[in-house]
């Protein structure tokens, strides 16, 4: 009974509403009372309570020694590690991106051998754990002891021990950038595919070469699609560098691991590492949002690049030489 009375949308009620039209029993300026959701503040309060409890537990815990944290936060060994982490991230990301563009273009090419190779590469490097790849490059010297180039008839041109060339640092860069190339290639490829075919045809029809079309028309538009997931990749890369500790990479994580393996201050030093990673990730979001704004410019419908009054609209309606009609 209750339901029937309150159901405004039941057929008889609708008809009645229609008959009443402007609803004489609703006062013109009836105050509007928003719906109340009393459990929302309760949920918020519960969350705050849980968080506060966790934080308090963390800070009062004797294992979390704040003096140790403060001591190591700006210690030389930490800062050097931060430097290596940033360097590894930058170099691997740049090399990975360059490789990704090449891979994406190979994948999209008409030549089935080229696209097959690109597909195989992606399959291999995405399909195996990065940890395995790091160890592989780190211990390359075990199954290829010497890097040498010898030509038949001329003899050996050069020969060096692998371990001398592929230092842990080089191995780390190799592993990270080769792996990154595989992931970013898919991002770049989807970016390129997002540019409509007509853009290319228009560019070709004004006499642009393939290369010029790619550089001036396809890439600038693909970048808009590429940047957000690429920002994600950079952040992932920054944290993935911590894995190079398995081949003694001297990055932030490796350095701090060395320290706590001797001092046993595991938790405080892990907190130091986390603080630094959080800080670096936060900083990284600034260029990302700047880039997104920079390349998203032409999509903003609201304003022309330089402000112009819209009063010219009517004037623009007719072509100037319309008097030539005939």
């Amino acid at each position: 009974m209750e339901i029937e009375r309150s159901s405004v949308f039941s057929q008889p009620a609708l008809k009645q509403n229609a008959r009443l039209a402007a609803g004489p029993n609703v006062p013109d300026d009836a105050p509007l009372v928003p719906r109340r959701r009393p459990w929302m503040p309760v949920a918020a309060a519960a969350c705050v309570a849980v968080l506060a409890f966790a934080l308090w537990k963390l800070l009062e815990n004797p294992v979390v020694d704040q003096d140790v944290i403060l001591e190591y936060l700006f210690k030389d060994v930490t800062l050097r590690g931060v430097g290596v982490t940033l360097f590894l991230t930058t170099v691997s990301m740049a090399a990975g991106l360059a490789g990704a563009v090449v891979l994406a273009m190979m994948h999209l090419s008409d030549n089935s051998v080229l696209s097959g190779i690109a597909r195989l590469y992606t399959w291999l490097f995405r399909g195996t754990p990065i940890l395995v790849q790091l160890i592989f490059w780190g211990y390359l010297g075990i199954f290829i002891p010497e890097l040498s180039l010898s030509l038949p008839g001329i003899g050996t041109i050069f020969s060096v021990p692998t371990a001398q060339v592929v230092t842990p640092m080089v191995a780390a860069m190799l592993a990270l950038s080769l792996n990154e190339a595989a992931y970013s290639a898919e991002i770049v490829r989807s970016g390129i595919l997002s540019v409509p075919r007509g853009q290319v045809e228009a560019a070709r029809s004004v006499g642009m070469t393939r290369f010029r079309t790619f550089r001036r028309v396809v890439m600038p538009q693909a970048i808009r699609v590429i940047i957000p997931p690429m920002g994600n990749e950079v952040i992932l890369m920054l944290k993935t560098t911590s894995l190079v500790s398995v081949i003694a990479g001297a990055d932030l994580m490796t350095n701090l691991q060395h320290v706590y393996s001797q001092t046993f201050q595991v938790i405080p030093l892990l907190i130091v590492a986390s603080i630094w990673y959080l800080f670096m990730v936060s900083i990284l979001t600034i260029p990302q949002s700047w880039l997104e704004r920079r390349f998203g410019q032409s999509l903003a419908r609201s304003q022309p690049r330089r402000r112009k009054s819209r009063s010219s609209d009517s004037k623009a309606g007719k072509p100037a030489l319309s008097d030539k009609r005939g």
């Binding site: 409509p196 007509g198 853009q199 045809e201 228009a202 560019a203 070709r204 029809s205 004004v206 006499g207 642009m208 070469t209 393939r210 010029r212 001036r216 028309v217 600038p220 538009q221 808009r224 390349f295 410019q297 032409s298 999509l299 419908r301 022309p304 690049r305 330089r306 112009k308 010219s312 004037k315 623009a316 309606g317 007719k318 072509p319 100037a320 030489l321 319309s322 030539k324 009609r325 005939g326």
Partner: protein, 255 residues
């Protein structure tokens, strides 16, 4: 027969799979001539137009523009496909306007127009910009130079696209249904620009369903069906007194 055609299509043939889209098409177009290409959907009009600047590769036959085979060079009686650079060079002289405008979305109207002359023709920027402003004026969009395509109506975009093609100083302009994607009230502005161009002696090949435009502006109407030219001639004759049943059929349906 035209003595010295600017554009000459010779026994052009093109198939997609088993479907023959162009069946030994031959067509000569004189300098300054404005030709309307009409015909039912799927008759191969777009394909013919796209072969004319080698956006599409034909199976046999060729297209000559100013005596040069488009997309090929003649060596020992064989047509060898041109390398990218030489093909791009040829395309400078052949302007194209698309049904979907295809303005570069990341460039303003002005940037769209000057991209070719600066990047491809390597002309000095100041000169190109002046010419571009003149072209913007011609298409009635002088005040819209700094707008991005997404800020322009379809009709405005298409007029910018025409200006972009004109900026390359082409010898011939190809239009593939330039007004088909437009709201009816915007069609007039674009046709107006094309009428102006025709008046200035530009050689134009226009795929269109605008019979009024074909009748008033074009020198010749070519009717295509199933990859063949069924009938062609003066607009008055083809549009008002078509000889072939297929032409009559088509005209009855679209008018």
């Amino acid at each position: 027969m035209i003595a010295n055609p600017l554009v000459s299509v010779r026994t052009l043939t093109k198939s997609y799979g088993h479907k023959v889209v162009l069946n030994r098409i031959s067509l000569d177009i004189a300098e300054g001539e404005v030709v309307a290409l009409i015909g039912p959907s799927g008759s191969g009009k777009s394909t013919l137009l796209r072969c004319m600047n080698h956006l599409e590769r034909q199976d046999s036959g060729c297209v000559l523009v100013a005596g040069e085979p488009v997309g090929y060079s003649l060596k020992n009686g064989e047509l060898h496909e041109l390398p990218d650079r030489a093909l791009s060079y040829q395309r400078r002289g052949i302007g194209m306007v698309f049904q979907g405008f295809n303005l570069f979305q990341h460039m303003t109207a002005l940037e769209n127009i000057i991209e070719g002359p600066i990047g491809v023709l390597k002309l000095p920027r100041a000169e190109v910009e002046e010419k571009a402003r003149h072209l913007l004026d011609l298409v009635g969009l002088a005040d819209w130079a700094d707008h991005y395509p997404s800020q322009l109506s379809g009709g405005q975009q298409q007029r910018i696209a025409i200006a972009r093609a004109l900026a390359m100083r082409p010898r011939v302009m190809l239009f593939d249904e330039p007004t088909s994607a437009l709201d009816p009230e915007l069609v007039g502005d674009v046709l107006e620009v094309m009428r102006t161009l025709a008046g200035e002696g530009m050689t134009m090949i226009v795929v269109t369903h605008e019979i009024g435009f074909a009748r008033e502006v074009c020198d010749r109407v070519v009717f295509m069906a199933d990859g063949e030219i069924v009938e062609q001639g003066e607009p008055g004759q083809v549009l008002s007194a078509p000889v072939h049943e297929r032409t009559r059929d088509f005209l009855r349906r679209i008018l």
